[in-house]
């Protein structure tokens, strides 16, 4: 019943979305407001329809309907209810439905807004959103169907949507269960965050295309979607950070990022999205780079689709997997067609997109932003090429190759360093015009302070030249940014005769995007401290210990005390947990409990580290193996990850920065600075 219902409303939403495309095109070309309104209502209707379809799927998941193949694959009886709900996005078919549902929600939210003078965008925004929706819903309905059931046909169990001739429904006793790696709380929210980010980027793209089609190529589309792109960036960043934390906690290799194609797939739209965040400011302030912003938003959209496809399907693992999967060519076809059409639109409108002013100085802020864009694009080129090269190699030489971390690290490290340097310089440059002199004058204090910090680190911490360059850049950016806060707040304080903190908070409140951005810059530097620490100073050792035997690493001593193994039938897990005493410089500082969890339903192991985390370093202990009978005891792998905690601290600060920048207030695009200042001075006098 629920299967037919879920699939039925899915099909209806597919048809409704198709209708909205044609109605919107007809309405726009024939200037028929009622047709556009009809298209808008159809678009709005897809959300409740897809919600019903999703609700049906969740009902099936929660109630152990193992006759449904998707339910069988991702749940089992022993899983708690909340995990059965989140299993919705634990597999390909479900996550595509999840994607579609989110898109219909966002598209509805955007079509509900008051359109007033932007009404000519409306039909084309609907066309773009609905086309994307039709593609994804179609994929779910016809290729990756979560409502497929098992049927017993002549002794064989086969998955079909509807009953084949002479078949009876087949219900398995228990399901496979969700991959244990995906049962971690981080993994429960990581995919939705990533998807929220992915899907939000469809909206700026839809507006950009609407601007191209209608010929209203001023920066209106950018102002209308500014908040969308910020929130998209927020979710994407949050998703990436959560993914990193999850990897650190459950993947058991002592790291947070492995340059895996799946990770890179989520990282690539983030790169273009970040470049876009910066370059739209040039268009807003100086009326330049209109072509480039269009290209960036198109690329981001294409990479979002590409990323969705890459993260779940695994079809890029080989040429054969790609060719054999029905969705591979479809996805590629969709990405290619949307790229071609979008670029054709840009070329068509090329003359209208010419800049309104000229670049005056190679050191002006707009020029430095362009350099920033070049660097982000360079990282993108490295990532993209690294991800697809194994396929290209297989295609041309028949040999698969691995493109692993060494390649990416070597190629991107100098690019990231250059980006950091820019982060230190660009905030000091002015729009329009800067010279080496003006830059030098505002920078020298911070530069001297950074040199002093680097000198201290050289004497006390490390002689590693790469680390010192990294720490110098980090210090430079932090000092420059703090100086920016200080300078502006002092100026305001003098002018307004407020106390310093009031000035600072009012200043930040009046210009959220700028100061939110600076908070993000500082957070990035905190993250960079963690990344430098773990990349350059990580040490590890492995050893098999008998009871009470010890292992030494970087000033720590580990002593193996005992090991216990037990079944928890209710949860369907076997736990093996070791007790290890930890000493630092001979002093007892606590015990750690590295674990191996074995999941009966999916027959998979999970290695949970015992981790002792301080601001200085993490002691990260993994139980690799154990011998229950012999006296050889257990094998441990131990990592010391210096400074890695700063990565997580920075990530949290980073989230605060983005939320600060993106927090909605009264339509800031419309609000001139004038009224803000006037209001604040009134408040000040009232307070006095």
């Amino acid at each position: 019943m629920f299967v037919e219902f879920g699939y039925g409303v899915l099909l209806v939403s597919f048809l409704v979305a198709i209708y909205s495309i044609f109605a919107a095109i007809y309405g726009a070309t024939n200037k028929s407001a009622s047709m556009v309104e009809s298209a808008r209502r159809a678009m709005l209707l897809t959300f409740p329809l897809l919600s019903l379809s999703a609700a049906a799927l969740v009902y099936l998941l929660v109630n152990n309907h193992f006759e449904v193949s998707f339910v069988y694959e991702v749940t089992s009886r022993s899983m708690p209810t909340y995990l059965k709900v989140t299993a919705w996005w634990g597999g390909q078919a479900g996550s595509l439905l999840f994607w579609s549902w989110l898109l219909s929600a966002f598209a509805s939210a955007v079509t509900i807004r008051k359109w007033d003078r932007d009404i000519e965008f409306l039909p084309w925004v609907i066309v773009i959103c609905s086309t994307t929706l039709v593609f994804f819903v179609g994929m779910v309905a016809f290729y990756e169907n979560p409502f497929t059931r098992f049927w017993l046909v002549g002794g064989n169990v086969e998955p079909h949507l509807f009953a084949p001739l002479n078949a009876t429904l087949f219900t398995a006793d228990d399901g496979n269960g969700l991959n244990p790696l995906l049962r971690h709380p981080g993994m429960v929210i990581h995919p939705p965050m990533l998807y929220l980010g992915f899907v939000s980027y469809v909206i700026p793209y839809a507006f950009a295309m609407a601007a191209l089609i209608t010929g209203r190529t001023d920066d209106r589309w950018i102002r209308l979607t500014r908040r969308w792109s910020l929130w998209a960036w927020l979710f994407l960043s949050f998703g990436l950070v959560l993914g990193g934390r999850w990897a650190y906690d459950v993947l058991g290799w002592g790291g947070y990022w492995g340059w895996d194609p799946v990770e890179i797939a989520a990282f690539m739209p983030w790169l273009t999205g970040t470049a876009f965040l910066h370059s739209v400011m040039i268009q807003e302030k100086r009326g330049l780079l209109k072509h480039w912003n269009m290209i960036l938003v198109i690329l981001t959209y294409a990479l979002v689709i590409f990323g969705t496809f890459l993260t779940r399907s695994g079809v890029l693992s080989s040429v054969h997997a790609f060719a054999n999967s029905p969705i591979g060519p479809l996805f590629m076809g969709f990405v290619s067609i949307s790229l071609i059409v979008s670029i054709a639109l840009v070329i068509w409108r090329w003359p209208d997109l010419r800049g309104e002013t000229e670049m005056k100085s190679m050191l002006s802020r707009e020029a430095l932003f362009l350099l920033n864009n070049l660097l982000f694009m360079s990282v993108l080129v490295v990532c993209f090429w690294g991800v697809i090269f194994p396929l290209i190699s297989e295609l041309f030489t028949g040999q698969k190759v691995t493109v692993g971390p060494p390649f990416y690290e070597r190629a991107t490290a100098p690019l990231f360093a250059a980006l950091m340097f820019l982060m230190g310089v660009a905030p000091l440059s002015a729009w329009g015009h800067s010279t080496l002199q003006t830059l030098g004058r505002s920078m020298w204090k911070s530069a001297v302070a950074a040199v002093v910090v680097t000198g201290i680190l050289f004497v006390t911490y490390t002689k590693n030249i790469i680390a010192l360059v990294g720490f110098f850049l980090i210090a430079l950016v932090i000092f420059v940014t703090l100086q920016e806060f200080w300078r502006a707040a002092r100026a305001r304080q003098r002018a307004q005769k407020e106390n310093f903190l009031t000035s600072l908070s009012r200043l930040m409140g009046r210009n959220r995007r700028r100061y939110g951005g600076y908070i993000i810059h500082i957070s990035m530097m905190l993250m960079a401290i963690g990344i430098l620490g773990i990349e350059l100073f990580q040490t590890s050792t492995q050893g098999s210990l008998a009871k009470d035997e010890q292992l030494n690493i970087s000033g720590y001593t580990l002593q193996y005390k005992e090991l216990a193994s037990w079944d928890d039938r209710g949860e369907g897990v076997n736990y093996t947990r070791a007790v290890v005493d930890v000493y630092k410089d001979g002093e007892y500082i606590g015990e750690l409990n590295p674990r191996i969890d074995y999941y009966f339903d999916s027959q998979q192991n999970m290695t949970i580290p015992g981790n002792r985390s301080t601001l200085n370093d993490d002691l990260y202990v993994l139980l690799v193996d154990w011998q229950p009978v012999s006296n050889a005891g257990a094998t441990f792998k131990v990592y010391v990850n210096p400074l890695v905690n700063w990565l997580w601290i920075g990530s949290l600060a980073f989230m605060v920065g983005i939320i600060f920048a993106a927090w909605p207030d009264r339509d800031p695009a419309e609000e001139p600075a004038r009224s803000g200042v006037a209001r604040s001075s009134k408040q000040t006098s009232a307070a006095d």
Binding site: G252, R286, G287, T357, M359, S393, V401, T402, G404, S434
Partner: protein, 164 residues
């Protein structure tokens, strides 16, 4: 999957068979860290993008044992890596070897980046050398005499002057 597993086990058994003699030699056995130092540079064809030193599968365990055996035979790191490459193809290495077709992966990104930089530089030159008369001058928000000055602060001070 299975095929790989069997071939690993077979290779492992063969390795043990043919190295019986060197076991008898009285040398200190290689430590886990020595094995991992080499294993971290290798990827087994089954476990995509998980280096051998941290991969928990049985197949990878066998590979690590094989490295241990080869180390105790006195083989060098380079010899061991060469052996695995010859046995299972270039894909076991963390990145493609620098030869032939594989040069593409190392040369293409810098080439594209360089091209991008040249295009950017040229268009920036073009923008900056255009006669100033053409400028419509919309952008300049601050208009302050000190160019490096925060345009917001400039605007704010301007507003305050007007208020007084």
């Amino acid at each position: 999957m299975k095929k790989f597993f069997y071939s690993f086990t077979f290779a492992f058994l063969m390795a043990i068979l043919f190295t019986g003699v060197s076991f008898a030699q009285d040398t200190t056995p290689p430590t886990d860290d020595e094995v991992n130092a080499i294993a971290s540079q290798l990827y087994c064809p089954v476990c995509e993008s998980t280096p051998l030193d941290v991969c928990p599968t049985e197949a990878c365990k066998d590979w690590r044992e094989q490295i241990r055996v080869m180390l105790s035979e006195g083989k060098s790191e380079e010899e061991i890596l060469k052996y695995f490459e010859a046995q299972y193809g270039a894909r076991v290495l963390a990145e493609p070897p620098k030869k032939g077709f594989y040069w593409l992966i190392y040369l293409l990104p810098p080439a594209i980046i360089l091209l991008g930089a040249v295009i950017l530089l040229r268009s920036m030159k073009q923008w900056t050398t255009k006669p100033v008369a053409e400028s419509t001058g919309t952008g300049e928000v601050g208009g302050d005499s000190s160019p490096a000055k925060d345009d917001y602060v400039a605007r704010l001070e301007e507003e305050l002057k007007k208020q007084k």
